[in-house]
């Protein structure tokens, strides 16, 4: 037939089902299906049972983790903000306080502290002061330059 009819239409009549099934397959299939569904339901029920048993512990664990995450995030946020505020604050204090004191105030404080004089440093200081006086260089001008 195949040799003479090369079209699918020519194969008409061959569209019968060429496959078969084991004996009694369709008679037993609904019962097997019911059994399978019962076992699926049992598995599902078992999963629900386990879930119900662990649900309180699970909920508690989730609560603790959530609390810990929120706490850590909040503390980190506060700490990072506080550092920047502190830096700003320190800078402002130094600026304001420095303007309120004159050079004489600092000298008075140093004298009050009665620190022991380092002779080597004193000689060096004297040398610089004499040099500045000899060359007639104003100390203020020097500070401005550098």
């Amino acid at each position: 037939m195949g040799k003479n009819n090369k079209t699918v239409e020519g194969l008409k009549g061959n569209n019968k089902n060429p496959f078969s099934v084991p004996d009694g397959y369709f008679e037993t299939f609904p019962t097997r299906m019911q059994e399978r569904i019962l076992s699926e339901n049992k598995e599902y029920a078992w999963a629900i049972k386990i879930f119900r048993y662990v649900k309180p512990q699970f909920a508690l664990a989730i609560m603790i983790i959530t609390f810990a995450v929120i706490s850590i995030t909040t503390i980190n946020f506060i700490l990072s903000n506080r550092t920047s505020i502190d830096n700003d604050l320190y800078t402002r204090i130094i600026e304001v306080d420095a303007n309120e004191f004159t050079e004489q105030h600092f000298i008075d404080v140093l004298l009050e502290e009665k620190k022991p004089v380092d002779n080597h440093k004193k000689d060096e200081s004297d040398f610089y002061i004499h040099y500045l006086l000899d060359e007639d260089i104003d100390y203020g001008t020097l500070i401005d330059e550098f």
């Binding site: 195949g2 089902n17 496959f19 078969s20 609904p30 299906m33 399978r36 569904i37």
Partner: protein, 182 residues
């Protein structure tokens, strides 16, 4: 049993006390059609049996939420088709084989299959069908063997009627060429 319409079966299924009975009726009504549809895609009886069971499990789980936008019959076919295509994909992934190789294996298994009763021409036709791309194969099987309407096929495969007609036409040409070459 088979006197129940799809609508009546769905109404019965929605009654929780009669759910098991209704589902049993649905299985009895559609098991043959779905089995043969699946069998023609996967060829081997044991595979078709597994897929049919999985199909009905999905139907059992999904039937409660089934909206009657489509017919029950086309919905069942769609699930069976998707399950069969998923099965073929899994076979391909499992053995790291291109799908063509798996289909060559199926061609070889046809001749030794104790549940294949076709003659030489029918065997050759099945081999020609196995050479087609998966979707074209399904279209050809539904039209040629089950004489399904294009409208129903369109609902099952979510493809336009025009595209299905073209697909069937190409499938026929390829099968004719297969016979000519041999």
């Amino acid at each position: 049993m088979s006197d129940y319409s799809d609508k009546e079966l769905l109404t019965l299924f929605n009654d929780i006390e009669k759910r098991n009975y209704a589902f049993n009726l649905i299985v009895r009504k559609y098991q043959d059609k779905l089995y043969w549809h699946i069998r023609k895609i996967v060829i081997i009886h044991d595979d078709a049996d597994d897929i049919l069971q999985n199909t009905f499990i999905k139907v059992w789980k999904g039937l409660e939420g089934f909206r009657e936008d489509s017919k029950l019959y086309t919905w069942l076919y769609r699930i069976a088709t998707n399950e069969s295509l998923t099965f073929l994909k899994q076979k391909k992934t499992k053995y790291f084989l291109p799908i063509v190789d798996y289909e060559n294996q199926l061609k070889e298994s046809l001749e030794s299959d104790e549940y294949f009763n076709g003659d030489e021409i029918q065997c050759k036709l099945q081999k020609a069908i196995l050479d087609l791309p998966e979707k074209q194969r399904i279209v050809f099987n539904l039209k040629y063997f089950e004489e399904m309407k294009y409208d129903d096929m369109s609902e099952i495969l979510k493809t336009s009627v025009g595209a299905l007609k073209a697909s069937y036409h190409h499938a026929v040409k390829k099968i004719e060429n297969y016979f000519k070459e041999d």
